[in-house]
Symmetry: C2
Subunit: 432 residues, 2 copies
């Protein structure tokens, strides 16, 4: 049975900390292993990538076979059933339409005589999208990573997806074709991240790497950060449902379980101001758990990291939510828009009783790559902004420099940077 | 004398790689030292911070003395000369006005019946600004970091600045007062980064850390990334000047030297399509070097990492610039706006002959915290965006879910995530 807790329990925060810190520490040895893999790929390129892929994925690659051909991509798309193709295309259209709204314009401010200031927005040239293989090879992840890059105007989208034993997921390849992925490499793990970050004879170096992965992939992304951009450091997934007693206990329980089935480390928490609802959801979770194909995973998640918390009122529930900054936040209340302004941190907010998280995971439009583990305090959902960068534009006329030059020289002197000042004063004395 | 190179030199790319890679490798031992410092601060909090500050900054702190008081901040502001105060306030106003234009709005799309989608923009709650101490304690850095945070609406801005031997720079404290910094702690190095990232009894935990620092600070920021946000991984500074033969050789030389005086690792490069200009700038660099107070630093930078490159034409110069993605890019050409669209990557672009980099460093308005070492391929100037984060908003009505629910269930089944599908199908069968 999912635990019922109260904020007033003497051990509440201690118990809750166990949920919050469930993935804080990287297991010993992983950082070193990843460092060695990255060094090997930097030094020996393809050769190291082939060796590591043979070892971890039981797949013997060569320069001739590392890449999925255009024909294989097209064949995968042609091979899937028409209904699945239509649904993936619907999701792609909706994701594209939402992300179009995130596009930012280059601007130039002409308010001031003699001084033009602006900000130029340009797409990244080449990006790498990491797609997990095996059981977690999700076509939706391909769409959610590639489409924002495409909308941003990225010239070349490179995807890596491990194919353990050579097995490819046709839906993943079809999603890549739909989203406009340019090239796909059959590699994964830290070796794929290293190849994307530094380039090898076969794999081109990219400017940024996005996409989910296991602890090796996440650690590798952190280690190459700075050499390339990365999206965020992602941990296991979580949902917080805020409830005011309104709504349907079976629906809320189903939403908690949709999170719990992901992963034994996933966390699903309901905080409700209604004791009756707490008990009803507890019963429903137990009942529905028994009907799930992924019962074993979901039960481990619910037992270790699931909870129903009874709050004194909605305000207490909201304070708690802001404290933990959940990845997915459902406002399962009668009037969600009334409390939206009080939400300070959350990856995505699902409004009201008819918006299950699953709708957002697949095709509502917003991105499903969201900050986890409280990082919604400072990270944002993956977006078009992840695939562009800005350049400041500064343009002074001779008059502009004449008007502001003395102040620049003063500040340069204040900081002891004489040559900075001289570059201005020389022009003040002799403008041309 | 600054070297003159040609793209056609057989060893050109080899020589240039030495400039590009001048700060690529973190010296051995630093990562481990920083890791130990962070672990010490996490485990022993203030005690470790006090010990490390005594050791590295020769300053004995206590819980009572670690913080600069409000009165000390006000006194510092009152102590500086009126002209300096006025110039700092002018810079603050101009920086504020520019960054106001970067503010993004929360939006909600109402185009589609039954489905509302949006993106909510919220400020970070508490941020930490790292300000270097000693010789590099620059008031302009305080303004450039604190003002975007203030414009973003950050509730609490915490600054750390080491005070070796207890010595404080009154201009730095005055700038903090002008910019609206809330609290200042007299600490620096990796221990300051660790204190901000994890919190101690005296230093509150922040959501993001921005600001420049030495290799220890940069390494610490990378190590705590994920626990908190960081702005970027910054290396030594650089300028690239593109010239078409127009303009004044003395001005261009002065701009190169304004970069070179920063740091022995700084890099100043001119690429010009005019051989005569190349020679004239070479002479001017030598002449002006001899007049500089910081000649010794500037000369080391110019000798090791300075260059004048002769290009066949402007197009070749631009291709080179796009290849190296410079932090500062001066378009010292007759018609800079004509070539702006061809610039793919640069931190800040200084347009034409009357816009020396120094103007942008201090008070034009755009931020002077810029991506270095080629990272303008994927990083952007520090901006208001660094101090906000977004939450996706998704709101389906019962009708909206009815219209799209079957497709969600289909995708969930495709990915083997039955419970995801059930959270929707339950609602389709029984909407309330």
């Amino acid at each position: 049975m999912i635990n019922i807790l109260r904020f007033s329990d003497s051990d509440f925060y201690e118990r809750f900390r166990r949920i919050e810190e469930r993935a804080d520490e990287i297991p010993a040895g992983i950082e070193e292993t990843v460092k060695e893999i990255i060094a090997a790929v930097r030094q020996r390129g393809d050769e190291a990538v082939f060796e590591l892929t043979a070892r971890f994925d039981r797949l013997q690659l060569s320069a001739a076979s590392i890449e999925v051909t255009r024909e294989e991509m097209a064949a995968a798309k042609a091979s899937i059933d028409p209904r699945s193709l239509a649904v993936l295309e619907l999701a792609a259209r909706r994701i594209g339409a939402y992300h179009q709204k995130q596009k930012q314009q280059t601007w130039l401010s002409t308010e001031e005589d003699d001084v033009l200031l602006g900000q130029m927005v340009t797409p990244l040239e080449r990006v790498g999208i990491y797609v997990p293989g095996g059981k977690a090879a999700y076509p939706s992840s391909v769409l959610m990573n590639a489409i924002p890059a495409k909308v941003a105007g990225v010239s070349e989208i490179i995807m890596t997806v491990p194919m353990p034993g050579g097995e490819a997921n046709p839906f993943v390849l079809a999603a890549a074709a739909i989203a406009g992925v340019d090239r796909i490499f059959k590699i994964g793990g830290a070796q794929a991240v290293a190849a994307l970050a530094y380039g090898t004879a076969s794999v081109p170096r990219v400017d940024k790497i996005t996409g989910p992965g296991n602890i090796y992939v996440a650690t590798a992304k952190k280690q190459v950060f700075g050499q390339v951009g990365i999206d965020m450091i992602a941990g296991p997934s979580e949902i917080l449902v805020i409830n005011d007693g309104s709504g349907n206990a079976a629906h809320i329980a189903a939403d908690l379980l949709s999170q719990a089935e992901h992963d034994e480390l996933a966390s699903a928490v309901l905080v409700t101001s209604c004791e009756q609802m707490a008990l009803a959801v507890q019963q429903q979770v137990e009942k529905q758990l028994q009907q799930l194909r992924r019962e074993s995973i979901a039960r481990k998640s619910i037992d270790a990291y699931g909870a129903i918390i009874i709050a004194a009122d909605l305000a207490e529930a909201i304070r708690f939510s802001n404290r933990i900054a959940p990845e997915h936040l459902e406002l399962a209340v009668a009037d969600p828009f009334a409390i939206l302004p009080q939400i300070r941190h959350a990856g995505a907010i699902f409004m009201g009783h008819h918006t299950p998280e699953a709708a957002g995971d697949y095709l509502a439009g917003p991105n499903h790559t969201l900050p986890t583990g409280g990082t919604a305090r400072f990270f944002s959902p993956l977006s078009v902004e992840d695939f562009v960068k800005k350049s400041s534009i500064i343009s002074f006329s001779a008059n502009g420099l004449k008007r502001l030059g003395k102040e620049v020289v003063h500040l340069a002197e204040l900081e002891g940077l004489e040559a900075h000042g001289r570059s201005v004063s020389l022009r003040l004395h002799d403008p041309d």
